[in-house]
């Protein structure tokens, strides 16, 4: 049906959210004090992480409890590289981090995709905890005298005369965020993405149609591992410290919360969820840091019980209403 509004109005309602997001992500942080800039950076890193989790949970319907394994592996790769060879170049750290995360995803994928349903969940959980205890016990991948690697410097880009500050690092992460966002968008709108959603809805039917569903699940498992590894690499540079905690189930819980609260299986749901979680965490750390898990768990339970579609549903409904009012979107 043809739009009733003028072409200009049509363009505005269609593109205004994107322009708004561009302004908020691109310009707003530059005006904020530097501690807020680093909160924004953290939000973007976790938005990549949550997007990667949504790729496997929201689209392929595989609930993994060990997603942090890839995140932490990427971070550890950067940390170990710095610790044992002293290389801080970003152009070595990034591929290495992603490669390590992918290698672990391949290994874990072979083991965990042998089973399905609840068993898949248990196995991913156990494998991630295995990695956690490896990181805890294996002295070689820890800084002397501690559990974890401290003192990871900001990435060396090989550009002379570049002095890092928080806003530069923010924009640096923003570039990667945009790349990931675009790639995930492309994956989701490819035949591969449709096949994944088909597997989520009915795996048997997809098998009957001649799809090798195991291969599809395996590929998406590895692809999400790569994205989570990238997030982990950025996080290691951002946090300056990587420890076994970032491999464990506590870290796996965060993207899960973000995806559920934001809205699973949607493009911007995980991003919105990451924003909410990171900012609420920041504000709760000002008032009651020790009650944060309670707030997180409570919000999570409420979201699952009463707002299954996530925040995104309400946002898009709100936006559509504005569209109706101005006559540019047909019902």
């Amino acid at each position: 049906m043809a739009a009733r509004g003028s072409p200009l109005q049509d363009l505005i309602t269609r593109f205004l959210p994107w322009i708004g997001a561009g302004v908020v992500l691109g310009i707003l942080p530059a005006l904020l004090p530097s501690y807020m800039q680093s909160i924004w950076t953290k939000f973007l890193i976790f938005a990549i992480f949550a997007t990667s989790f949504d790729l496997i949970y929201g689209h392929a319907g595989l609930l993994s409890l060990g997603h942090a394994a890839f995140f932490g592996a990427g971070g550890y790769a950067v940390g170990v590289l710095m610790l044992h060879t002293g290389i801080t170049s970003f152009w070595v750290g990034l591929p290495l981090g992603i490669l390590v995360a992918v290698a672990i995803a391949v290994l874990f994928g072979f083991i965990s995709l042998r089973v399905s349903g609840m068993y898949f969940l248990l196995v991913t959980f156990a494998l991630a905890q295995l990695l956690y205890s490896v990181a805890w016990n294996w002295l070689w991948i820890n800084s002397p005298g501690m559990q974890g690697i401290a003192g990871i410097p900001l990435p060396d880009l090989g550009i002379p005369s570049l002095e890092w500050n928080t806003i530069y690092f923010y924009y640096f992460v923003l570039i990667f965020f945009c790349i990931c966002f675009y790639l995930v968008y492309r994956i989701m709108n490819s035949p591969f993405g449709y096949a994944l959603r088909g597997i989520r809805e009915s795996e048997i039917r997809m098998q009957a149609l001649g799809y090798n569903t195991w291969l599809y699940k395996f590929i998406i498992f590895v692809v999400t591992g790569a994205f989570a590894g990238l997030a982990g690499v950025l996080f290691a540079y951002f946090n300056r410290l990587i420890s076994p905690v970032y491999l464990g189930v506590g870290t796996s819980f965060l993207p899960m919360c973000m995806v559920i609260i934001g809205g699973s299986g949607t493009r911007i749901g995980p991003v919105i969820g990451a924003m909410v979680i990171i900012f609420v965490e920041y504000f709760s750390s000002l008032f009651t840091p020790e009650r944060w898990p309670l707030i997180l768990g409570g919000a999570f339970v409420v979201a699952i019980m009463y707002a299954r579609g996530g925040i995104v549903i309400y946002l898009s409904r709100f936006w559509k209403q504005i569209g109706y009012r101005h006559g540019s979107i047909e019902g």
Partner: protein
């Protein structure tokens, strides 16, 4: 030989704690199709309550076991009635919900009892050593083995020899047909969930005799209990028992033979089982 005997008994007693922790999880998974990730948190809650009753109020150890189980059971039942009931046939949401409760229960426990770990405790009557073929062995561990055996027999009897057990097994195989026969499966499910949480709480108090109670137990025990379920096979008491004892023995012997790989033997066992027989040692075919 003495080292072997001691390891054997240690392994079995640890395995009994694992059985107690895993059996409820396994049965709830099998019967109701719910993966209750808050199971480890209920174990921890039982342990804390038991500690408070036994040490703080100086009461009987057996009362502590009962009250620890009761509190966990009631909390578990509340979660089931208020929340899980509305997520029927939505396995992913059920899992996520119970995972949220891990955080809530853990943080509430820290709020009430503080972050300080609690030491092992036991009834004075149960402390001391007993000579077994010239090998002195702590009575507490023998009592744990005995309790595990008793619980296993009671649960097995309940599962295989009673009407309720028959209903449970029937519901596992064909839910709709069972309900079509006029059986109130919901009430039975409630009972099963309460019983599972109750056993988790009891396991918490019993396990506290070996490991004490601390605030990260919720996830630790969950992980071990899940491994027990994977190795033993879900849905039956025998499966949980075989899984618990195998993991207990593997872990204890692994720790004494290859101390540098302390944690890994358990995972190795899990991976091997998954590669060889994904349904577990005594698993029902799914």
């Amino acid at each position: 030989m003495e080292v072997f005997g001691r390891n054997l008994l240690n392994g079995i007693s640890f395995g009994m704690v694992l059985f107690l922790a895993g059996s409820g999880l396994s049965v709830v998974m099998g019967v109701m199709g719910i993966t209750n990730l808050a199971h480890g948190a209920l174990y921890m809650l039982g342990g804390y309550v038991g500690w408070t009753v036994a040490i703080h109020y100086g009461m009987n150890f057996w009362l502590a076991v009962f009250l620890g189980g009761l509190v966990s059971g009631l909390i578990g039942l509340t979660i089931e009635r208020i929340f899980l009931r509305h997520l029927y046939k939505q396995p992913n949401e059920q899992v996520l919900l119970t995972f949220g409760f891990v955080y809530i229960i853990t943080n509430l426990c820290i709020w009430i009892w503080g972050g300080r770990p609690r030491m092992q405790f036991s009834s004075p009557a149960l402390s001391g050593l007993l000579d077994i073929f010239g090998m002195p062995y702590p009575i507490t561990r023998l009592v744990i083995i005995a309790m595990g055996v008793i619980v296993a027999i009671v649960l097995w009897w309940l599962q295989d020899r009673t009407r309720i057990g028959a209903i449970i097994r029937a519901g596992m195989d064909d839910k709709e047909m069972t309900m079509g026969l006029g059986i109130n499966l919901e009430r039975v499910s409630m009972l099963v969930f309460f019983l599972a949480a109750f056993v988790a709480g009891v396991a918490g108090v019993v396990g506290a005799q070996l490991m004490g109670v601390h605030s990260i137990l919720g996830l630790d025990i969950l992980l071990v209990a899940l491994i027990v379920v994977i190795v033993g096979g879900m849905g039956s008491v025998q499966g949980a028992l075989s899984g618990g004892i195998s993991i207990g023995l593997i872990d204890t012997f692994g720790k004494s033979l290859f101390p540098q790989f302390a944690m890994f033997t358990m995972y190795l066992a899990m991976v091997v089982i998954l590669l060889v027989k994904p349904s577990g040692i005594l698993g029902r075919r799914v």
